[in-house]
Symmetry: C2
Subunit: 323 residues, 2 copies
């Protein structure tokens, strides 16, 4: 694959080149990794998309929200990319965004780009690939990159590490309980969006929104938040109501963060985070090479037989790895 | 330090040599690590202690239990070592076993050896050091090594990875609830010991014991358990009742496991586990060397400024590390 051509294609906003680039960063083949690194290093750096993290448990209407929200952004002349991190993808073989028909209208738009979650064994691997895919989407001139996830904490954390704004999507609750949303996830949210504020569910959505607004007021104020944030609001993705208001709040928040230095500071901290993660991963990836695996397995057998102490065996292994 | 002399001293069961050996394995100085590895490799391997993991939240009477249980073992002519893993020690500077006066009688016995938790920043580091300290106690001819921990899951897991038997100590519950013991921790327990079965608390201890016995019956049977295990029983560490019964059950369990191959199989799997953990740690420890730290920090600044892509910077860093 010619990396120069790929860079040019991506910089020109060609979706096919972008898709090929993402396939390259998702590959774990050693030669592909080298090409992916060269690609990432050669990408134009001056473009910056708004990266929106979006989390919500199954059933809250994430696909419908992304479809309606994405179509509204496109109607405003923006280009929208949708990526996903699925912590369960190693088991299910990719469950979220796996089916583009879930976003029927959006997937047919020329200004939209939808990519399912890479399937990998480790969440860390999926996350690193997705971070690189975000960089490719940015270089391809997308204005907004939506990063979807569903999980119970860990995947939200990694999505927050690659997002400028984090939205938590909820469904109206039956009673007045807080739907078992973990405190840690709530603390990551910049905007809590209560979906399905339509028809019979509207009163319940109202109550849920008020409950969360109350709960958010009890959290400690973060330096990166202007007055009134984090906030809770209602939308109906189905009836397409509340979407432009949500977008307005996202813009108000990010404008304030840009003006007050928090945007740049967060981006710098995120870049450091991914650098450190990638260093650690690269070091540990040495263990996956066939020769290393064979040596590990041989020493592991000796250790299991009690013929050699685990600490000594580990030292011997690392010493021969470095040679 | 002369490693040969240290090996001889430890093999002769000298407590001072043992203490010096443990100090050596706890050190993170590079020359100490090399000496510690040599020490571990040179230890006699034929001695095998019974390693008992012991967990329980603060207030259940762990110290009193260890004191009474340890004194009973010593009265039977056994030598007893007590080690600890404290997941909070990085913050508090060592809270469990930090004070030997908590085990006043035991600490004065010549056949007892008590060592507080090493203070380290990472649970992983503490755990690895403690695993090595267990190996030293074994080589010093201790018959029983008690490994104490208090935690909410993670530290129990690492203690289970270095124990032959795992005891979960509980206090009598006020009502009939299961004291918020996490399912994961309960599934690790071989014997649940309800302490404080004395005085006013005896009826509550009885109820708690019956509740847990019922809960244990609902868990899936593990291959390494003979009939009747895991089980729940009552003790009063204060009144020294139920202790020899607990010891009897521990022996019955371990005799069965030895006879049926589970003891050796578990030890082999644990040795493999610690080998792999130590390999990973040794690889990542390269990042702690002063030169590597300086290079990391320099590249991290460039990454934060957007001058270099995180993936490319990571690749460059690892490449120069290997040279």
């Amino acid at each position: 694959m010619n990396i120069d051509d790929l860079v040019k294609g991506i910089a020109a906003g060609e979706r096919r080149a972008l898709a090929r680039g993402i396939t390259l960063v998702e590959s774990s083949r050693e030669d592909h990794r080298a090409q992916a690194t060269a690609l990432l290093a050669a990408l134009p750096k001056e473009r910056e998309a708004l990266r929106i993290g979006l989390s919500g448990t199954p059933g809250v209407g994430k696909s419908t929200f992304i479809e309606s929200f994405g179509m509204m952004l496109i109607a405003q002349g923006l280009r929208v990319a949708v990526l996903a991190i699925d912590p369960s993808s190693s088991r299910s073989g990719g469950s979220i965004l796996g089916d583009k028909t879930r976003m029927d209208l959006l997937s047919r738009e020329k200004d939209a780009f939808i990519r399912p979650s890479p399937s990998q064994t480790h969440l860390g691997g999926v996350a690193r690939r997705t971070r690189e895919a975000v960089a490719l989407c940015e270089a391809a001139g997308f204005d907004v990159v939506l990063i979807e996830t569903v999980g119970v904490g860990q995947s939200e954390t990694v999505v927050a590490e690659m997002s400028d704004v984090f939205l938590l999507l909820l469904a109206p609750a039956g009673g007045d309980e807080l739907q078992g949303v973990k405190r840690g996830i709530m603390e990551m949210a910049d905007i809590i969006v209560v979906n399905k504020a339509d028809g019979d569910l509207k009163p319940a959505a109202s109550r849920t929104c008020a409950d969360y607004a109350g709960a958010l007021r009890l959290l400690r104020k973060r330096p990166q938040d202007p007055d009134g944030f984090p906030k809770a609001m209602m939308v109906s993705a189905l009836q397409e109501s509340g979407l432009s208001e949500t977008w307005g709040e996202v813009q108000a928040l990010t404008d304030w963060r840009r003006a007050n230095g928090f945007w740049a500071r967060a981006r710098a901290a995120q870049a450091r985070y991914w650098f450190e993660q990638t260093v650690k991963h690269t070091l540990l990836a040495q263990l996956e090479a066939p020769k290393a695996k064979a040596a590990l397995s041989e020493l592991s057998d000796l250790v299991a037989q009690g013929a050699i102490d685990p600490t000594k065996a580990a030292q011997d292994f690392v010493a021969q790895l470095e040679r």
